[in-house]
Amino acid sequence: MNKYLILSIFLGLFCTGLSVELPISIEIPIPIFSILYCIVAYAVYKMNIKHVNKNIEAGLLCVGIIVSYWLGAYLGANQLIFMSNGLVVYQLFRLACERTKRQSRLAMLVCLAQVWVGLLIIANFLPFILIFSISIFLLPKALTETENLYFPVRNLFSVFKFPKVHLLPISLVAVLVFVALPRIKLSRSLNPLQNAVAGQGELQKKADTSNSVDGGGERMVFQIEGKQIGYLRTVTLDKFDGLSAWEESTWIQLPDTKRSIWGPIPKDSLERSVKIISTSLLRNSLPVDGRVEKMDINTGNRFYLADGGGALTPLNFHDNPSYRFWTYNEPIPSPMNKKFRKRYLNIGGFEVSNQLKQFLDTQMPKNLTDQETADFLTNYFIDNFTYELGAPKLDRISAIDDFMFNEKTGHCERYASTLALLLRLKGIPSRVVLGYVPREYNNIAGFYNVRTKNAHAWTEAYIQGKGWVQFDATPYEELMPYEEKSLGFTLIESFRYFWFNRIVEFDSEDRSDLIQFSKGIVTPVVNAFINTLPQIVLVCVIVYLVYMIKKNFKKVKLKKKTPKEQKAESMLKARSFYGKLLRSLAKQGYEKPIAWTPNEFAQFLSQQGYPLITEIKSITKTYCDIYYGSKILSEENESVLQAQLAIIAAKK
């Protein structure tokens, strides 16, 4: 009784409930509204109302849609999607009352739309697989049920059974369509489905030498895939407050107008693919490494490379964008004008202490180039200082001196900011860069998990003829080691990565990769096939010949009879001949009594003076030899017997 249609309606209601997100945070996400809808639907279904006034139904439906539209705006959800909750009213009526054929079809259509809304909301693998599997099972049967309403039932035993073997071609076509569907992103301003909610960022945009840091946690920030991945920058701090703190100035976020990142893929560049997990930690920064030459992001937003070297884009709090970029690890030499040079040398009124001055004048070798100076200072810190998380706070006023000459220990920010200041004091433009260093590698899927504990700070110095060169003064041996996770964890992570990056965010680039990959497999196979075609044809011909020979041989073999068969055939023929003889003799008045043997009858005929006794005896002997002996009737014997019989039959 339309059970699949009813179940599909329940499924649609469940999926619609997923679109309702209450403005409260819950530890374990429970689909409260989905369950609520299903409970109400079941109660309504059990009511079994015969008929409802059409006007009442239409009125309630309109009210439902209007309320859901308004509620969507109130909850901050996409209102067009949220209106599917208004259609719940229609489905409840379909469950409660008897459905006409047309209503069943409309209910099916609404159900399809609601399931689609559900797929729009969920992203995780398990809920998706659950809903998708149920949909694959239910929807074809419900569609068939709906169509069958238009046909009379022939008998109760004619039950439709969807041939399961057909699910395979359907699935293949679905996969092909999924891969082939073009994916075009509209810009955010044109997109009616977007709801821009400003994110609450926790992005660090300040580095204070005097601070003490305990270290980051395990919270996942992003995942990155690529080869030779360097330090991934998020923020560039170029403004020193003259005491201990570095900040990001506004002008450093301005777009780098000297470069275009929209062109073709640069030759010999290194490709990275990044999936951002915690947008709030990055706010509008996209981690990049090296010298970015091309970029592509899936949000449809505008993005740009900042003058400070990083990439920026307005991100939604709810977004989990993915992007790709192509970069070079080596810096390029680019001229720096006086204005920029002045900015990158500005020490903000920092008072150089005598101790520091002495260090810079005496401890450092003379006549070093900028590169050598930076290397010297970097090595100085690495060799003489230690890395420590949670080192005591430094004196705010003389934090640099305190760090340089007293504490000599601390976290990466201290090293980066101190080195940057020292380089500026030496007349080398420098800046502090905050970012992440990937250390947790998944060697199955080939990506890095970057967590909050992988945050790092380093220095960049402008070297004439080279450009901005990276210097990391943090002591290496205490730096975050490469992490190795268990196999199970790695497998789960790999699957999750594959799921989100290759399926949930399958885009035109992935399609191109898939086509290339397929070509890579198919082309050699096809080429090999073409190259060996003559051999294949020859083998096929030989196999066919063998088969035909075997088949015919079997036929030939059948014709030859076994001795037993020959004996049986001979006996039958002999009996036939003797029977003809007896019939002929009976016509002539000589009937053989049943009790007599053939030889006795022949003897009797001989005594009676039968004229053709020779033929009689010959036939009788042949018969006895075959029937009672081991003789086989040959063709020659057969013809002789026939001739003798003819003679006897001709006698009157």
């Binding site: 067009l80 729009l120 998706f128 569609l143 169509e147 022939r154 439709f160 992103k185 399958f506």
Partner: protein
């Protein structure tokens, strides 16, 4: 969409799902996840599957039409159609349609199942309709696409006029007939109704011997049966009509059909002629009278007046012992006068429309009136 002779078009529901798919696709492009496209792809796959299956089923379903396409107006076509599913899996949602309407609808056919089904086609008004082409359609399995294939038949659908119970027309020339409905005072050696036993005479066959009674020792007794008689009815239909009264004409045809049925029920022999035609149709007792019904299905009203000579010829074609029953659309005074004068001893009855007022007819003629549902005498 036409592919050779087959058509493949989306149904209304299919168009709605396509529209929903397009809207969903445009919306899904802007989502941050491709998972809605998964659902959409599955829906597209179902569409493609429906197209393919409907196309296959409509093209390869085997339909065998009955050799005899006959029926009665206003009722369903009785002769069964044979449908064979050549696939090794179940199919369904099959429609057989013709220019006259829906013939069959089948919800489901099992794997390689062959069924004979009575069609649902309601026959139109009496007549002969060309039945050269039917269409096999299928929207299997989801009802999103409908494929139709034409099948040539080169048949004709013969729709007989409907009939109703009526009084048996007067019959004459009664003869002993096994199965006849009238009983005579005589007895016969065979029949349906056992009458009794009598002593055997020399002309009796040994098969007539009633052994049970004979065993009682009173001599050999043979069985006797009631003699059953059946008469002959001659029916002449005059299709001449003075005005364009098609309804009266149809009533007249139905009257002829009803009289035939009543004659059959009574076990009489019917000889029928449509005036102006050359053939006399014999309808033996207990037959289906197909030939006469076919003629009635084909007959058309004629405005050409009756020719007395040809009428006389037609009357002479009737058996000399049969009665003469005339079904006319007007009062056939001159025709009756001729018949009465030439055949004074024969029973004559006339059937005229009830709309005819006060017919002036001879007293020896039985007059019946007919309308669309009964025949009666005033």
């Amino acid at each position: 969409m036409r592919l050779l002779t087959r058509q493949l078009n989306p149904t209304r529901f299919g168009i709605m799902t396509i529209a929903l798919s397009v809207v969903a696709y445009i919306a899904a492009l802007q989502a941050f996840t491709n998972l809605p496209l998964f659902g959409l792809s599955f829906l597209c796959a179902l569409q493609v599957y429906n197209m393919w299956m409907a196309f296959r089923v409509a093209g390869q379903l085997k339909v065998k039409a009955p050799g005899d396409l006959r029926g009665i107006e206003g009722r369903n076509l009785v002769s069964s159609w044979e449908i064979h599913n050549p696939f090794n899996y179940g199919i369904g949602q099959i429609r057989l349609t013709s220019s006259l309407g829906k013939i069959l609808e089948i919800q489901y056919l099992g794997p390689e199942e062959k069924v004979s089904l009575s069609p649902q086609l309601r026959l139109p008004k009496r007549g002969i309709y060309p039945f050269s082409k039917i269409q096999v359609g299928s929207s299997y399995p989801f009802g999103l696409w409908l494929s139709k294939t034409p099948i040539k038949l080169d048949e004709k659908l013969i729709v007989h006029p409907s009939s109703y119970p009526c009084e048996v027309p007067p019959a004459s020339g009664f003869e002993p007939v096994v199965g006849g409905r009238l009983k005579s005072q005589n007895k016969s050696a065979s029949g349906d109704q056992f009458s009794g036993v009598r002593p055997m005479v020399s002309s009796d066959s040994i098969r007539q011997v009633h052994w049970k009674t004979s065993a009682k020792g009173q001599g050999i007794m043979v069985k006797e049966f009631e003699e059953e008689l059946a008469g002959r009815v001659g029916l002449i239909f005059l299709p001449q009509i003075k005005n364009k009264d098609s309804e009266t004409f149809e009533n007249a045809v139905r009257c002829c059909s009803s009289l035939m049925n009543a004659t059959q029920e009574a076990g009489h022999q019917l000889d029928a002629i449509i005036a102006g035609r050359t053939n006399r149709i014999q309808v033996p007792p207990f037959s289906d009278g197909r030939d006469w019904l076919d003629e009635l299905a084909a007959v058309q009203a004629s405005k050409v007046g009756i020719d007395m000579e040809s009428l006389l010829l037609d009357v002479n074609k009737l058996p000399s012992k049969s009665s003469i029953c005339i079904v006319a659309l007007h009062t056939p005074n001159s025709e009756l006068d001729m018949i009465r004068s030439l055949f004074p001893k024969r029973k004559v009855a006339v059937y005229i429309p009830e709309s005819v007022d006060n017919p002036t007819l001879s007293e020896n003629v039985r007059v019946y009136f007919y309308n669309n549902k009964e025949i009666y005498r005033k």
